[in-house]
């Protein structure tokens, strides 16, 4: 990413950070066509789901907060394609995409956002905590840092059980400044754990540009020497680039090669959360990144690689149909019954604290 120095006058400590052009060589990357088509579908699933969630929010059907990853779909899609079904994913509150990328259907996700009994979490967790253990989606964590430490535990257990499973933890640029990040990466390095740390660097921690509050340019990658690790920096909007980095890191972890850090440069098209219009970002930064949109780019690449327009349209429309159906089903679902308040505090299914 090249900081445009000339703009410093205009933007002070906060110059626009413009994307690098997409790497033309990625067309030649040795990635099977079915994998590429899967990543194309997953990117559409994520974007169309999140656009739908935004519409539902505008209709005031989604309460509380929600954090969309529109513009950042390539990362989730690529990891969804690169992971083994029994691998573990740990995400943040910005985790809808990572959840669907592991194969979780859209209906329970939408239902959860609408606070319905059929929600992925029975309506009890909400937007920031999407989890589907059966899909290896081990949770979305809303307090920054903790899940990086927790991912190590899943990696450690996989190592002790010789299961060959890998744990991937997704986090933001801003998260690299919290203590738990340091403890987690360090701990993974000390015990040579199969943990893959994936920084989704979207240039902002909420409303503050990451450069303003971080002393190094690459918040995750530039920290890796502190743990004796190499880091990979990739264009987070190019699903193929992310996929290659993901496969390399996951294979290394599986072969007992230890943890990795991947920093994926990306950008959110909207604000930090539903409450945020994102006006603190310079216009030319926004427009440059809007043009660096992962989905149209990938569409063009697939065409260049000989995939037919019709096939791509079919994917797009079938995803749209699935999201529509899921939305209708979710909207028709009942709200959680009052009894749900009292269940699942404890493993016995209840919430009793006294006799």
């Amino acid at each position: 990413m090249n900081a445009v120095a000339s703009r410093e006058a205009a933007y002070g400590q906060h110059p626009p950070v413009l994307p690098e052009p997409f790497d033309p060589n990625m067309d030649q990357a040795a990635i099977p066509e079915d994998v590429r088509l899967d990543m194309y579908r997953k990117q559409h699933e994520i974007r169309q789901l999140e656009k739908r969630l935004y519409d539902l929010f505008l209709q005031n059907l989604v309460k509380g907060t929600s954090h969309l990853a529109i513009g950042m779909e390539a990362i989730g899609a690529a990891f969804g394609a690169a992971l083994r079904p029994d691998d573990y994913s740990f995400a943040t509150y910005r985790g809808h995409g990572h959840t669907i990328a592991r194969g979780v259907p859209p209906e329970p996700i939408i239902a959860e956002m609408l606070g319905r009994a059929t929600g992925l979490l029975g309506g009890k967790g909400g937007s920031m905590h999407l989890t589907s253990v059966e899909h290896g989606m081990m949770g979305s964590y809303a307090i920054i840092g903790a899940h990086l430490c927790i991912a190590n535990g899943a990696a450690w257990s996989a190592k002790l059980r010789n299961s060959g499973q890998v744990a991937v933890a997704f986090f933001g640029d801003g998260a690299t400044n919290i203590g738990a990040f340091h403890e987690a990466v360090n701990y993974a390095a000390v015990y040579h754990l199969p943990t893959v740390f994936v920084c989704e660097n979207n240039l902002y921690m909420e409303y503050t540009s990451i450069g303003q509050v971080t002393p190094v340019r690459n918040p995750a990658a530039d920290r890796s020497p502190a743990y004796g690790l190499d880091a990979t920096i990739v264009d987070g909007n190019d699903a193929d680039a992310v996929y290659l980095a993901a496969v390399a890191a996951i294979d290394r972890a599986r072969d007992d090669g230890g943890p990795s850090i991947i920093e994926a440069k990306t950008y959110r098209h909207g604000g930090h959360s539903r409450a945020d219009p994102g006006t603190y970002r310079p216009d030319d930064e926004i427009s440059a990144w809007m043009e660096h949109d992962p989905i149209p780019m990938y569409h063009q690449r697939l065409l260049r690689l000989g995939v037919g327009e019709a096939q791509l349209t079919e994917i797009e429309t079938s995803v749209a149909a699935a999201i529509d159906a899921a939305t209708e089903a979710a909207k028709a679902a009942p709200f959680p019954p009052a009894e749900a308040l009292w269940t699942n505090v404890w493993a016995d299914g209840g919430s009793q604290w006294r006799n």
């Binding site: 907060t65 307090i143 909420e206 409303y207």
Partner: protein, 324 residues
């Protein structure tokens, strides 16, 4: 006299003190340029500049540590912990450092600072962004605690907190931010450690805090219509605790109800109940009843969260049941 939101009262209180005292500085995540994620600190950067109003990295321990070190050496910092749930990532600075340094050094270390935080639920944010944690702090000697329920109290208690020579945790309730109240113009300075009696009634005493205060008041009005006259006390300050106001009232009404947003166990109401059951036991005419959120994490779904946090209906029902 102008109508002020609880939200705007926060920045008014801070600005009042920053104008008065140049040693007051303010730091936190997204608090300056963005004016805070709850927009409670809008305008402070513009008025006081980037040296005194600072956006920080996501480093709660570093934020509170910086506030403490600055307070030890001549400044009067105000630090924001965005959501009170996040105290869990920097609790060491609060309970082991700030709360103990003066005592451990036999008075050598001063820590005049304020830590503000968005507390409480009823906003559908789920279990990790909705907790009422004022009782976490109440269990730890050495920190003062206020939790205002109105815009006027926000301004006055903020001023009192900033001027206080000890560390003060200032809990702003997220579900009260949009509430409005007429607030007098000019400087407002309140007093820590003082509860406020908002309603007088001879049959029972209802003690509440923050979001539970307006609910307790409304419940009292409905109970009055049924012939049950309740005194309603807004505790306002948990440390110091105005036991006089509470004990005097319970001694005269003979009944105590606490209305607590926290999950039941070890809430502030338990402490008050234990004080009452010891010191005015012989004045009690019946059981002490605590009306609290059940001892569960808070659910995200609207209908479930509304069932969890004490509602006006539930307060009315529980008081009626206990009084008849």
């Amino acid at each position: 006299m102008a109508e002020l939101t609880y939200r705007a009262a926060v920045s008014r209180g801070i600005a009042q003190e920053m104008r008065r005292d140049p040693s007051v500085v303010f730091i936190g995540e997204d608090v300056a340029g963005a004016g805070g994620v709850f927009k409670t600190t809008a305008g402070l950067l513009e008025e006081f500049g980037p040296a005194r109003v600072v956006d920080t990295p996501i480093s709660e321990q570093a934020i509170l540590g910086a506030a403490m070190g600055a307070a030890m050496t001549g400044l009067r910092p105000i630090a924001e912990i965005m959501f009170a749930d996040f105290f869990a990532v920097c609790w060491d600075i609060v309970v082991n450092q700030l709360a103990k340094s003066r005592y451990m050094t036999d008075g050598q270390v001063d820590c005049p600072l304020v830590i503000r935080s968005g507390n409480g639920g009823a906003v559908r944010f789920g279990a990790q962004h909705s907790q009422s944690v004022e009782n976490w702090a109440m269990a730890v000697p050495g920190i003062k605690i206020v939790a205002p329920s109105s815009a006027l109290d926000v301004v006055g208690l903020m001023a009192a907190a900033v001027r206080d020579p000890d560390p003060v945790l200032f809990f702003e309730h997220k579900a009260l931010l949009a509430t409005k109240q007429d607030v007098p113009d000019g400087e407002i300075v309140d007093t820590l450690g003082t509860a406020r009696t908002l309603r007088e009634g001879g049959h029972c005493t209802i003690v509440a805090l923050a979001l539970m205060v307006p609910r307790a008041l409304e419940a009292a009005e409905r109970l009055a219509a049924e012939g049950i006259e309740a005194t309603v006390i807004d505790v306002r300050s948990l440390m110091p605790l105005d036991t006089n106001t509470i004990l005097t009232s319970v001694a005269s009404t003979g009944r105590l109800f606490t209305v607590e947003e926290n999950p039941r166990l070890c809430g502030w109401g338990a402490e008050i109940a234990s004080i009452v059951a010891d010191e005015v036991f012989w004045d009690l005419d019946g059981p002490i009843v605590r009306i609290t959120t059940p001892h569960i994490p808070l659910p995200a779904a609207e209908n479930l969260e509304d069932l969890a946090i004490p509602s006006v209906d539930r307060i009315v029902d529980e008081v009626r049941r206990a009084m008849t």
